[in-house]
């Protein structure tokens, strides 16, 4: 019934667009105008607020941690500021009057926004690698652009230090955290991080920044106090539920998109994660991972801020006996995308894409995932949360159907009703976008790509986005029927790279998807759904790689030259010859010795390498692979040059 409802919702969204006479790009909401012209920062003063701008007061953590939605009191109004990624706009909604107030078009796709206490709005434009600074002119008018600053590639999330002097920006593609002066937006520092950083939160004492990662099974702790800002990892994995050592050794985690900090009691940071057991790489299971146990389980790690440790037990999977219930167990949160704490009730809210729900957990528990209190149904693809503690409510922004859901947080009204079944929370949809047919098809494909607990996709609840967060890869090597196989990145690497799969068994994407659903024991999609999913996959893009410099030019010569001979197989614009080769990489359990030549597009951004992920870095690959080209004998300078060229692809 749930699936049917979701399908109907998705179809309704498409119909709504069709009825609106969709033509790509423009929003039909109030106060819409041409994209804001964002002057580049000229001076410290150019990013400053103008004196005449009306003030708003950010609510909750809106002034300290970014989200796709933030709340502020604007005079007597409570206004939701929304970073509308699909609409390329910053939209304001009056929560009390349930009215869309204004929409400010932006020159890029906003990922998240931060409200400052001096009345500015900082918006990260992920596809433009910009931070845009705007200020309101009136609650129901488009915002005034102040300035924009360039950031490392793909800015995604922001956080403010406790002294409100520095804004931290995480950049996903550039795997970096940069610190900028809040007043002038001038960059103060930048540190390199592991792959795919996402949410950022600053510790209560202001000395550390905690950064979540979408892949890699860790959290990064950046020392803000010391000169070079050293980075320490916190490992985010735990034994699987059967407690076996083998499970402990191979378990990892991913989907670290969200972080939230508890204020009272302080010292706690919540990091929703998904524990992953990719299975024993010495075995050949029927599907992806060990079929005898859960491959993915949603948890919420509790981080002890002061000790920089995950609290013992917080990474325990729920593992509760489900057989006491006559019905099916509740769907797990396998795609957590946002988190927020209600300080009044000490409740942690986590927005779960895939099941389109917000789950309320006990924020005082050692193991929030084992202390779920209730859950709310929200719009499709929730990506942001904001809490209005004073009025006992929260809002969830759902990007996929561009709606706000109002969540009542007080439980008193339902406590005495033993049979309480929550009514669907109130939902406010933004004015529909005008979209082309292809754009609508891609949106539906995105919905399918993120559908968790959907038997069409997988029998065990996994979504496509479970292994391919943001259309990329989970950096995990899975046990498969063919041997250990590294998840491949999808974004930007599907065009002209057939066949698909490490053994090249999928002659086209459609056939490859069929094989994938089969291994996931999914029932499969209808032809209309499959076309939508394909449209979405083919539309996935990656940010631009760094432009080639002189060193990369030398690397290009080496790559295409006879000595290294990389281009023999990694040929043409797609950097693959579409054939399988035996490069001596067969491991003991592998069924075949030859593997399809992978495309090298954006290769620097999807380590580790080879079909079984045996090489952690590009340099290791160039130095250790024997029969794939001739790179071992290159000088250090040439290796640097070749690596620089690969990073530019």
């Amino acid at each position: 019934m749930h699936l049917r409802a979701r399908t109907i919702l998705a179809a309704s969204a498409l119909l709504a667009c069709t009825a609106a006479g969709c033509a790509r790009g423009s929003a039909a909401g109030p106060a819409a105008s041409a994209p804001a012209s964002l002057p580049a920062r000229a001076s410290a003063a150019s990013c400053a607020r103008t004196a005449a701008a009306p003030a708003f007061t950010p609510l909750g953590v809106a002034a300290h941690q970014s989200s796709t939605v933030a709340l502020a009191r604007f005079g007597d109004r409570t206004v939701a500021f929304i970073a509308d990624e699909d609409g390329h706009a910053l939209t304001l909604v009056d929560l009390d009057r349930r009215a869309e107030l204004a929409s400010t078009p932006l020159p890029g796709a906003p990922s998240q926004l931060l409200l400052t206490t001096d009345g500015r709005v900082l918006v990260a434009l992920r596809d433009e690698s910009l931070i845009a600074v705007l200020e309101p002119t009136a609650p129901d008018a488009a915002m005034r652009p102040l300035c924009s600053v360039k950031t490392a590639t793909e800015p995604l999330a922001l956080a403010l230090t406790g002294d409100e002097k520095t804004v931290l920006i995480s950049s996903g593609w550039a795997h970096a955290l940069s610190g900028h002066d809040l007043a002038s937006l001038e960059k103060r520092f930048e540190v390199d991080l592991p792959r795919e950083p996402r949410a950022v939160v600053v510790s209560g004492d202001g000395k550390s920044a905690f950064v979540a990662h979408a892949v890699g099974g860790q959290l990064s702790v950046v020392d803000l106090d010391r000169a070079r800002h050293p980075v320490q990892p916190i490992r985010m994995s735990h034994a699987r539920s059967d407690g076996t050592e083998s499970g402990a050794d191979r378990s990892t985690s991913c989907q670290g998109f969200a972080l939230a900090r508890s204020l009272v009691p302080g010292g706690r940071i919540f990091a929703p994660q998904v524990l992953v057991d990719p299975g024993s790489l010495e075995a050949l299971p029927q599907g992806y991972g060990d079929s005898n146990g859960p491959t993915e389980q949603g948890v919420v790690a509790v981080i002890d801020e002061k000790a920089s440790l995950a609290v013992q037990g917080s990474l325990d999977a729920p593992a509760e006996p489900h057989d006491v219930t006559a019905g099916e167990p509740l769907a797990e949160c396998l795609l957590p995308r946002a988190a927020a704490v209600d300080p009044t009730s000490n409740t942690l809210l986590v927005a779960c894409a895939g099941i389109d729900a917000v789950i309320a957990y006990d924020a005082l528990s050692t193991s929030p995932a084992r202390s779920e209190i209730r859950r709310f149904a929200v719009g499709g693809g929730p990506t942001g949360l904001a809490v209005d503690a004073e009025r006992g409510r929260a809002v969830a922004w759902s990007q996929f159907d561009r709606s706000l859901t109002l969540l009542p947080l007080r439980l008193d009204d339902v406590a005495n009703d033993m049979t309480h079944v929550p009514r669907p929370p109130e939902r406010l949809a933004l004015a529909p976008l005008a979209l082309t047919g292809l754009a609508m098809q891609r949106l539906y494909g995105r919905h399918l790509f993120h559908a968790a607990s959907d038997p069409r996709i997988a029998a065990d609840g996994r979504a496509c986005a479970s292994c391919h967060p943001d259309g990329r890869d989970d950096a995990i090597t899975w046990a498969t029927p063919d041997g250990p196989r590294r998840t491949v990145m999808l974004a930007g690497r599907l065009a002209d790279t057939a066949p698909y799969g490490w053994n090249g068994a999928g002659h086209d994407l459609r056939e490859h998807l069929g094989h994938t659903f089969e291994r996931l024991k999914g029932r499969g999609l209808s032809s209309v759904e499959l076309e939508a999913l394909l449209a979405y996959l083919q539309g996935l893009r990656t940010p631009q790689s760094p432009s080639a410099d002189a060193r990369a030019a030398r690397g290009k010569e080496l790559f295409h030259g006879a000595e290294a001979a990389c281009a023999t197989c990694h040929s043409d614009g797609s950097f693959t010859d579409g054939k399988s080769h035996d490069v001596g990489s067969k491991a003991g359990i592998d069924k075949a010795a030859a593997f399809d030549t992978p495309s090298l597009r954006s290769i620097a951004s999807h380590a580790p390498y080879f079909h079984d992920g045996r090489y952690a870095t590009l340099r290791e690959l160039l130095l250790k692979s024997d029969k794939m080209g001739n790179t071992k004998q290159l000088t250090d300078d040439d290796l640097d040059a070749l690596e620089a060229y690969l990073r530019s692809l």
């Binding site: 034994a239 593992a319 509760e320 006559a326 000490n346 006990d362 209190i373 008193d412 406590a415 049979t419």
Partner: protein, 387 residues
């Protein structure tokens, strides 16, 4: 189906609304401690550790081991003895083995069928510790009353000492699980012992055992108390000798939707929660099992009307969450149809209570929390009527 059957029988009994048989010895479940309940129903509470009643550190050391305890010697808190066991052939099963905390065992639901006429005498006879002598014959025949009602009292919960009891002056450790009937059988010997739902049974190689019995009650001041009795029991005779009895004051923490009552006390910095599972229609409904999950893979189940949950947190950096889950029978008022009147139906709904103690680096004192959630939809005992 196994789990649904007893409740189905109970529901049928309710619909029939027949008065209990005159003189029926159905034990009454313990009344809720007068004045002990939390003041309001809530999903979530976070009591202050230091506000909980403080109990002295509890360490039972082995007293001098008696040589023999005669059958006539008994303790006030419970009855122990060697009833004649009559087990229908189809219910006989290999003797239950001793359970440890790491074991995962789910007891089948109690009271599945009426008494069977073809009883078989089974030997050797195990020792039984039961709430009262009155229910012993019924327990020993694995018998429910004609309407499938559970006749065992579940208000006294037993735990045996772990392993072989030391001869003297050593700390005695107890199994963490508890059950409302404790069976002890000789390690060796012919025959079978009953595998009875709601029992905690094990084999022993020694004749004398230390048993702990807990009962939730009301103190003279009207406040909730937990009575803990330790006693020797003699497997050869069935006699019991008191070692000590303690009364511990409890702080009411929470009454959850559906009627779980949560109490707590502390020993030093460690919180001990006590959860009472009060059936909605006590004289009619067989109690469901409670599942206590300490950590993944460590699950205990019990029919007791209460469970005691100590949280093992004693210093900074330690934390523990234990969940208590099960299924409640709820009386649901259905709206009137047409000109008819409102009517009520019994429904089931799964729940989970999460109990947590956390002591992080920045916490001056450990942080406690008790939170409740429904984990399933309302449904009939046959799975119908989900909503």
């Amino acid at each position: 189906v196994k789990r649904a059957l007893p409740l189905a029988l109970a529901v049928l009994a309710l619909v029939a609304a027949r008065p209990p048989e005159a003189g029926a010895d159905t034990p009454k479940p313990p009344p809720p401690p007068a004045g002990a309940a939390a003041s309001r129903i809530s999903f979530k509470e976070s009591p202050e550790l230091d506000a909980l009643p403080l109990a002295a550190p509890f360490e039972l050391r082995t007293p001098e081991v008696p040589k023999r305890i005669e059958a006539r010697e008994q303790v006030q808190a419970f009855w122990s003895g060697k009833p004649t066991w009559h087990i229908p052939a189809e219910k006989a099963s290999p003797a239950p083995k001793k359970r440890g905390r790491k074991a995962t065992k789910k007891a089948p639901r109690h009271g599945a069928s009426p008494a069977q006429p073809d009883l078989a005498l089974v030997a050797p006879t195990p020792l039984a510790a039961i709430a009262s002598e009155r229910t012993a014959p019924r327990v020993s025949a694995l018998e429910n009353d004609r309407e499938g009602r559970d006749v065992t009292s579940h208000d006294v919960c037993f735990s045996p000492a772990q392993g072989k009891v030391p001869t003297r002056d050593a700390v005695v450790d107890f199994e963490t699980g508890s059950e409302s009937v404790l069976l002890i059988s000789p390690e060796t010997g012919p025959g079978v012992s009953p595998s009875y739902p709601g029992t905690l049974g094990y084999r022993s190689t020694f004749p004398l055992h230390i048993v702990r019995a807990e009962k939730l009650g009301t103190g003279p001041d009207g406040k909730a108390t937990l009575s803990i009795t330790h006693a020797w029991v003699d497997e050869r005779s069935g006699g019991a000798r008191l070692i000590q009895t303690r009364q511990i004051a409890l702080q009411p923490i929470q009454e959850t939707p559906g009627g779980l009552e949560v109490f707590a006390y502390r020993i030093g910095d460690r919180a001990i929660f006590v959860v009472q599972h009060q059936p909605l229609v006590p004289e009619r409904i067989s109690p469901a099992t409670l599942e206590v999950t300490h950590s993944p893979g460590s699950i205990e189940s019990t029919y007791c009307h209460h469970v005691t949950v100590p949280l093992d947190v004693g210093k900074v950096g330690e934390a523990e969450t234990v969940t208590v889950s099960g299924e409640m029978a709820l009386k649901v008022v259905l709206p009137a149809e047409g000109e008819g009147e409102e009517r009520s139906e019994l429904k089931l709904r799964a729940f989970r209570l999460s109990l947590s103690e956390t002591w992080l680096s920045g916490d001056a004192r450990p942080v406690l929390s008790a939170s409740f959630a429904w984990t399933g939809k309302l449904h009939g005992e046959d799975g119908s009527g989900e909503r």
